[in-house]
Structure formats: structure tokens, C-alpha cells
């Protein structure tokens, strides 16, 4: 049974966030030694997860749930099976060492507290991703890893390159995350639950769903971007801008594997289809090769490691994509091995950089004597990476060859794997052997062994690789088989041996790999030149492409925005009224609801006169040569409208209209008294024609809509009510006034609010003196 019970896992999940909050405070008081204290938190979490291992080995899984957003079925639920626990162990375990390492690496840095804070946030998010059962919760954590890695990568924010890489990571992984969100929601709807554990039990529902392809594409997009699969691989090496602890953490254990985790997690419900078994291996394989080839070109040790990470991720995706039991077991093994050796190697490189002042391949050499422990860690890890016995990396490689060899298209996948691994072998040798052996080169700083904080992690992880290799059977049974089972969605426990028990194809392939690797290593320098030349000839890559795309988007956005938002009021008005005209006519055209022209016969002569005057009045305003004249002419239509009110039984209206019309003219005259207008209204005749047609269309549209409404019977209930109770209850004979002050008094109170505010606004318009008449952009004190 788990150490403190399943529910205690929630505390383990909360821990890093608490640590994040504590970090700045502790770092202020304890400086770098805060690491020791803070490392306890991930260590405790590690122990908590470790305590699940025995149960898992017996085939158990664990679930716990807290209510979070019940309205939308979002729960704070966790699901612990082989897959999630192994990941959680890696995250918390390596996290512990990284915490220590960060203390050493950033010793004396003023922002150590912030850094640790970000790191713990990241750790908490990452743990959340792997243990979350609810897909929405998973996604929340997923995006949180993107955000925190943005902060971590950009930690050295005064450097442009850091900022660029941070943005790249945010955009690529955050963008992929958005696709993932849609994919997860779709999967949830199709599978009938947002709980991953329930989805996993839904069998073939998703595979048979009409949305399978959509779900697949969306989920894979999320996974590929996060796990830096070609063509999204570029952000990962760039993320090396981050301080080394970050690189080590991000790229060994955790974040980049989130994508792999997701694919493995969803394998039982999405895997095994043709689509899956085609897309994943192809992209994985390409990524593997691209990663290694680009790795060869690098001279920066850290970058070499970064590209090999890309390659390893490609390998993992490829293996997961085969949906083959053994291949997946190989993937599990490789993932485990990779976490150990890559974590260790990053710390090694960081330590070298920290102690020697450089991490350029050509400027370091013969450091072993000065840094024996680091050197040992390097050698051990490199052996694991190269796939040499007796390290866990070797076992992983054996099993994965064993897997790929027998699958459909196995030849192709195996070829990918062999080629990739061979280059990986050569790169391992480059990274681990070159700096520590051979002639001693003069480095910017005189190298010494790093402090305990710096070396503890690398050597521990490296030794763990050795230990795991030695006890691979037990590690396999206890830890990795439950994980494999979880990925496969069915129990699986194949015994593992450090050394092959028979002459399998895998063994031959291993030998071939090593041989090829040695050759590549020997020609490494020449290859580097060739690759560099080729890349220079191509002259373009997704990394450059990212900038170009971003730039293109911004330029496109600028052009588009300038086209839409022209800054010309005339255009705005034309567009607006065009839309209005469309909205008036399109429904009428589509519904065929045209009004009839009727009822004109019952009008009195003087009513025609008044209507004619209104029309003439409008026409006169339109055609007035001078604006001043137009103002005088404006009164005519207003008067006509007032007379219409009068003739149709609305004395109050008429009264008000007369008053208002007059006062408008008075205010207009008061205002116009101070304008000295130039006389012309220059509209081109084409513009005029356009304006006229829009105006006529709008007018006709409203007219017809009104006609079609007034030709329907009218429901006078409201007015009858008002008429009936105006005097009897409300004590007023003027029904209109009673409506205004009683029946619908709340309209009036709003109306007088408008009047009052108008008064104040006009006062403000006239009285407030502008502080500056220049551009307010430069004005302070806003």
C-alpha cells in the first residue's frame, strides 16, 4: 500500500507549488543553501510515488478525485498506473537533484529565488500532467508547463536570444496545446467521459468514432509540438538559452516527454490504427535522423545534447507509433534510460561550463584529471547513451531492435533506428570522451571539480543507469512492465536480461550500430563540415522559418488592419451603412417577405401636403449649396413631422417636437455662429452615386420592413390597459403623460439622466482646457 495513502498524492502535487511560493523568501535568507531545504519537497513526493510501485507491480492502479468544477465535469482527479508513476518518479526524482544543482549553478545569482520558484512551478505542472486523470485538468497542467518553461527559458531575459527562444517555446508548445484542448474535448465527448481512466476503458469507441481522424490529428499536434517532433523540433535546441539546470530538467526528464507521455497514455484508445502506425513512426523516424544529423554539426556541447534529445524523442515516438508490444517495451526502457543519462549529461556539461568557462567542443579537453567525478558521470552516461553494456541504455536498444524488427514496415523503422543510434553513439563519444580525455586544452577558467551541489545529481543519475542495467530484471518487473502494460492497455510482463540470452537479430543490429557509430565518430570532424556545408547550402530551416512565419503574420496583420481600419471616417460610414443595407434586404430576399403598397387612397389632401413638405424639406437640406443654408432648411422637415404628430392625435408629441426642433436650431445657430466654413462639399460623382444608392437602399429597406409590419394586425392590449387605468387608478387624464410619469416612469428617469449628463458633457467639452495641444502620446500624468 502507498506510504501515506492515495490521497496523500494531492499533497505531493501541491508540494512544488508551495515550494514555488517559498523559494523567493528562502533564497533571500539562505542564498544557495535554500536548495537543500527545498529539495526535500520533491524528494518527499518521490517517496510518495515510489510507495505505489509494489502495488503497481501486482497490476493495481490507483485513483482519487477531488471536486473542482463539477458543473463542467472537471475534477481534480488523479490516476496512478505504471505509466504515470514512472513519469512522476522521474519528475520528482530528477527534480530533487535539479533543485540541488540549481543552487550550485546559480550560486550568488540575485534572481535565484525567482528561478527556483519558476522551476518548482514547472515541476508541479509537470507532475500534474502525468498524474491527472481528468483530461481538462491534464490540459490545464499541460499549458502551465508551456508557460513556466517560457519563463525558465527566458530567465536570462536581457539577452535577445533568450527572449526569442522563450517566445518560440511558448508559441509552438502553447499553440500545439490549443489543438490538444480541442482534441481532448472531442475525445471526451466521443468517449462519454472526461476522465482518462474511463476513456481508456471505452475500448474501440474512439477508434470507431467519425471524429477519430480529427481527434488523432489534434492530439498528435499537441504531442508533436511538445515533444519537438519534426518539423516543430527547432524550439528545443533553442531552449538551451536557459540556464543549464533548466535544460537538464526540461530536456531530460520531463517537459519534452510530455508529448511522448500523451501518446503513450492515449495509445490504448487511439493507437493501433493504420493512421497511427503510419504517421507516428514516419515523423518519429525523421525526427530521429534530423536530430542526430543536426547534432553532428554542433560544437557547443549543450547543443549537441539538445539535438540528441530531439533524436531520442523521435525514436520514442517512432516506437510508440509501431503499436508493437516489444517495441513499446523498448520505448519504455529507452525513455527510462534516456532520462537518467541525459539528465546526467546536461548536468555534466553545465558543470564543465561552470568550472571551465566554456562548453565549446574544440576548447575543452583532458579535464578528467581536474574533474574526476564529473568525468566518471560523463563516461557512464555516455555509455548508456551509446547503448553499451552493462548500462540500461544497452538493454533498451536491444529490446527496441527486437521490437521494430518484427513489425510491419519493420525494416524501415529498424533502419531508422540503427542509423539514428549509430550517430547517437558517435555523439555520445564526442560529448563524453572529448572534454575529459586527450590533450589538455587551455580553458577560460582553470577547471576544478564542481561543488557537491553541482556533482551530486550527475553522478547519481549516471550510477543509477549502471544500477538499473545491473538489476534490469527487477527494475523491469517492478517498474517498467506496469508502465508497458499501461501503454498497451493490457497486462504485459516480459522478463528482461542485461545480456542477451540468445543470438537475436537485435544483437546483430547492436553490433552493426556500434560499428557504424565508431566509423561516424572517426569521421566526425569531416562529417561536421559536410553537414554544415549542406545546411548552409539549403540555407533555410524551420528555425529560420519560425521567424519568417512570425514576421509574415505580423506584416500580414499590419496590411490587413490598415486595409480595414483605414482611419477615414468616410470609409467607416460607408461600410457601416452598406452592412445595414445588406441586413435589411437579405432577410427580405431570402424569406420573400415583401410588403404591399396599399392604403394610400384614404388620405386627406392636407396630409399629402404635409408629407410633401417633409420630403421637400429633406431634399432641400440635401441639395443646399451651403451648410449654413442647410441649417435653416433643416427646420422644414422637423416642422412637417411635428404637424404629422398633430394631425394624428399626438398633441404632446407635436408640442415637444416643435420645441425641440426650435431649440435644436437655436443651438445649431449658436454653434454655427462661431464656425467659418469653407463652402464646398466635394464628393466625387462616383462617390455620390455610391452614397445615394446606399442611402436609398437603407431607406427603402426600412420603409418596406415597416410597411410589412404595419400591414399585420396590431395588438393594442398595452394601450387599452393604459387607457383604462389612466384616470381610474393613476389619476391623470393625459394618458401619454401618465405613461411617462407613472406607467413607464422608469423610461423617463433614464431619459432625464441622459439630459443631465448631456448638460455636464457639454460643459466638459466647452470648459475643460486641453493641457497640451500636441500629441497626447507624449503627455504625462494621464
Amino acid at each position: 500500500m502507498p506510504l501515506f495513502g492515495v490521497e496523500a498524492t494531492f499533497w505531493a502535487l501541491l508540494g512544488p507549488f508551495v515550494a514555488a511560493a517559498l523559494s523567493p523568501i528562502l533564497a533571500k535568507t539562505l542564498k544557495h543553501n535554500a536548495s537543500w531545504l527545498l529539495a526535500i519537497i520533491p524528494a518527499l513526493a518521490f517517496l510518495q510515488f515510489l510507495s505505489f510501485v509494489p502495488g503497481l507491480a501486482e497490476g493495481q492502479t490507483y485513483k482519487a478525485s477531488l471536486e473542482w468544477v463539477p458543473t463542467f465535469n472537471v475534477n481534480f482527479s488523479i490516476y496512478l498506473d505504471g505509466l504515470s508513476v514512472v513519469f512522476a518518479l522521474l519528475i520528482s526524482g530528477i527534480g530533487t537533484f535539479i533543485t540541488l544543482y540549481a543552487g550550485g549553478y546559480l550560486k550568488g545569482h540575485e534572481n535565484l529565488g525567482q528561478f527556483l520558484s519558476y522551476l518548482f512551478l514547472f515541476m508541479g505542472a509537470m507532475l500534474g500532467v502525468v498524474v491527472a486523470d481528468n483530461v481538462i485538468t491534464l490540459f490545464v497542467y499541460w499549458e502551465l508547463t508551456s508557460i513556466t518553461s517560457f519563463l525558465l527559458i527566458g530567465f536570462d531575459h536581457l539577452r535577445r536570444a533568450s527572449r526569442r527562444s522563450a517566445v518560440q517555446a511558448l508559441v509552438v508548445t502553447g499553440g500545439g496545446g490549443l489543438a490538444l484542448m480541442a482534441g481532448l474535448i472531442l475525445a471526451g465527448y466521443q468517449g462519454g467521459s472526461f476522465e482518462m481512466s474511463e476513456l481508456l476503458n471505452s475500448g474501440d469507441v474512439l477508434r470507431e468514432s467519425p471524429y477519430y481522424t480529427a481527434i488523432f490529428i489534434l492530439v498528435v499536434l499537441g504531442a508533436f509540438t511538445k515533444s519537438a517532433q519534426f518539423p516543430f523540433h527547432f524550439w528545443l535546441p533553442n531552449a538551451m538559452e536557459a540556464p543549464t539546470p533548466v535544460s537538464a530538467y526540461l530536456h531530460s526528464a520531463t517537459m519534452v516527454k510530455a508529448g511522448v507521455y500523451l501518446l503513450m497514455r492515449m495509445h490504448p484508445v487511439l493507437g493501433g490504427t493504420e493512421l497511427w502506425m503510419t504517421v507516428l513512426p514516419i515523423f518519429g523516424g525523421i525526427t530521429l535522423l534530423v536530430g542526430t544529423i543536426l547534432g553532428i554539426r554542433q560544437t557547443d556541447l549543450k547543443l549537441v545534447l539538445a539535438y540528441t534529445t530531439v533524436a531520442s524523442l523521435g525514436l520514442l515516438v517512432m516506437l510508440t507509433g509501431t503499436s508493437d508490444q516489444i517495441a513499446i517495451q523498448g520505448a519504455v526502457l529507452y525513455l527510462f534510460a534516456h532520462s537518467l543519462f541525459k539528465g546526467s549529461l546536461f548536468m555534466v556539461v553545465g558543470t564543465v561550463d561552470h568550472e571551465a568557462g566554456t562548453r565549446d567542443l574544440h576548447r575543452v579537453g583532458g579535464l578528467f584529471s581536474a574533474m574526476p567525478i564529473t568525468g566518471t558521470a560523463a563516461v557512464l552516461s555516455a555509455l548508456s547513451m551509446a547503448g553499451l553494456p552493462p548500462l540500461i541504455g544497452f538493454v533498451a536498444k536491444e529490446v527496441l531492435y527486437d521490437g521494430t524488427w518484427y513489425t510491419t514496415n519493420g525494416g524501415l523503422w529498424t533502419a531508422f533506428a540503427v542509423l539514428g543510434n549509430a550517430m547517437m553513439f558517435a555523439l555520445a563519444a564526442t560529448v563524453a570522451i572529448k572534454p575529459f580525455f586527450g590533450a589538455k586544452l587551455k580553458t577560460p577558467k582553470v577547471a576544478h571539480e564542481g561543488t557537491v551541489l553541482l556533482i551530486a545529481g550527475s553522478i547519481t543519475l549516471a550510477v543509477l543507469g549502471l544500477v538499473a542495467g545491473a538489476f534490469v530484471a527487477s527494475v523491469g518487473h517492478q517498474l517498467l512492465s506496469p508502465m508497458t502494460s499501461a501503454i498497451l492497455g493490457q497486462p504485459f510482463d516480459k522478463e528482461l536480461h542485461l545480456f542477451p540470452t540468445y543470438l537475436s537479430p537485435a544483437l546483430y543490429l547492436s553490433v552493426a550500430t556500434i560499428g557504424l557509430g565508431i566509423i561516424i565518430f572517426m569521421y566526425m570532424d569531416r562529417l561536421r563540415v559536410i553537414v554544415a556545408d549542406v545546411l548552409r547550402t539549403i540555407g533555410w530551416g524551420p528555425d529560420k522559418g519560425f521567424d519568417q512565419v512570425l514576421e509574415a503574420i505580423i506584416r500580414f496583420a499590419t496590411t490587413l488592419t490598415q486595409m480595414v481600419q483605414t482611419g477615414s471616417m468616410v470609409t467607416y460610414m460607408r461600410a457601416t451603412f452598406t452592412v445595414i443595407a445588406l441586413m435589411l434586404f437579405v432577410p427580405m430576399i431570402l424569406t420573400g417577405n415583401w410588403p404591399k403598397l396599399e392604403g394610400l387612397g384614404s388620405l386627406h389632401v392636407y396630409e399629402w401636403f404635409i408629407a410633401a413638405i417633409a420630403v421637400i424639406g429633406v431634399y432641400a437640406v440635401l441639395t443646399a449649396r451651403y451648410r449654413v443654408t442647410a441649417i435653416v432648411l433643416l427646420g422644414i422637415q422637423g416642422f412637417a413631422v411635428a404637424l404629422i404628430y398633430l394631425l394624428f392625435g399626438a398633441p404632446d408629441l407635436s408640442f415637444t417636437q416643435f420645441m425641440v426642433e426650435t431649440l435644436s436650431v437655436v443651438i445649431l445657430a449658436l454653434v454655427m455662429t462661431r464656425l467659418n466654413l469653407k463652402p464646398t462639399d466635394a464628393r466625387s460623382s462616383r462617390g455620390k452615386a455610391f452614397d445615394i444608392s446606399i442611402a436609398v437602399l437603407c431607406g427603402a429597406g426600412i420603409s418596406m420592413l415597416l410597411m410589412s409590419i404595419v400591414q399585420l394586425p396590431f395588438d393594442p392590449t398595452l394601450s387599452e390597459f393604459f387607457t383604462q387605468y389612466s384616470r381610474t387608478i393613476a389619476h391623470g387624464r393625459n394618458i401619454v403623460n401618465v405613461i411617462l410619469v407613472d406607467f413607464r416612469g422608469f423610461d423617463t428617469i433614464g431619459e432625464i439622466s441622459v439630459v443631465m449628463v448631456t448638460g455636464l458633457a457639454v460643459l466638459a467639452l466647452i470648459r475643460v482646457r486641453p493641457k497640451s495641444n500636441g500629441n497626447s502620446n507624449t503627455e504625462k500624468n494621464r
Binding site: 386627406h604 389632401v605 392636407y606 399629402w608 401636403f609 404635409i610 410633401a612 413638405i613 421637400i616 424639406g617 432641400a620 451651403y626 449654413v628 443654408t629 435653416v632 432648411l633 427646420g635 422644414i636 416642422f639 411635428a642 404637424l643 398633430l646 394631425l647 392625435g649 398633441p651 407635436s654 408640442f655 416643435f658 420645441m659 426650435t662 431649440l663 436650431v665 437655436v666 445657430a669 449658436l670 454655427m672 455662429t673 467659418n676 466654413l677 469653407k678 463652402p679
Partner: protein, 117 residues
């Protein structure tokens, strides 16, 4: 109702109708002047008269509909009509003194017209 009373009612109805008709025509005439101008003062005289005639129309409608409450509207309209005229007069005065382009143009036009005649 006696015959005389019936006649009186009919007569009144006819008078109201005729008056409304005449007033309608009157409006058209006034509107013609307002639009034609040619000068701002001309238009303002026209507007002033429009208000005055509208008052008459209101009274006539009041008689026609037997609603005497229209008197108040007439009174109010008289008040604000006066205000409008005052405002316009002031407007002409101020703009003219500011040598408003359009007013100067109108004065020039009217002088030219005079010479042509």
C-alpha cells in the same frame, strides 16, 4: 338638432377643410421661399412665417377635432418661434460681422442680380 345647428356643423366642417387646404398650400408657398432664398434673411423670414402659419394650422386642427387644448400648443409655439427668429437674427448679425464667406457671397450675388435687372 335643429336645421340651423346642422347647417352650422356642416358649415364649420367645410370651413375647417377649406382652411386646412389653404394652409397646406400656404405651407408649400412658404417652403418654396425658404428653399429658394436667395438670401439667408429671406429664408429666416420664411421660417418665421412658417411657424406663424403652423400656429394657425394647430388652431384649425383644434377646431376640427374639438380639442381646445391645442391652444396651449399654439402659445408655446409662438414662444419658441420667436426664440428661433431671435437666434437666427443674431446668427446673421454675428456671421455677417465676422465676414462670413457665404453671407458675403450672398450679398455680392444680390448686388449682381440688381445690376443685371
Amino acid at each position: 338638432m335643429s336645421g340651423f345647428e346642422a347647417f352650422a356643423a356642416d358649415f364649420l366642417y367645410a370651413c375647417v377643410s377649406i382652411a386646412l387646404f389653404i394652409l397646406g398650400l400656404t405651407f408649400l408657398l412658404i417652403v418654396y421661399r425658404i428653399i429658394k432664398g436667395p438670401t439667408l434673411p429671406d429664408r429666416i423670414v420664411g421660417l418665421d412665417l412658417l411657424v406663424v402659419v403652423a400656429i394657425g394650422l394647430i388652431a384649425t386642427v383644434g377646431v376640427g377635432s374639438t380639442y381646445t387644448l391645442y391652444i396651449d400648443i399654439s402659445l408655446a409655439l409662438g414662444l419658441v418661434g420667436f426664440l428661433a427668429t431671435v437666434a437666427f437674427a443674431r446668427f446673421i448679425l454675428n456671421r455677417g460681422q465676422a465676414k462670413d464667406f457665404i453671407i458675403m457671397q450672398e450679398i455680392k450675388d444680390s448686388e449682381r442680380l440688381e445690376e443685371q435687372e
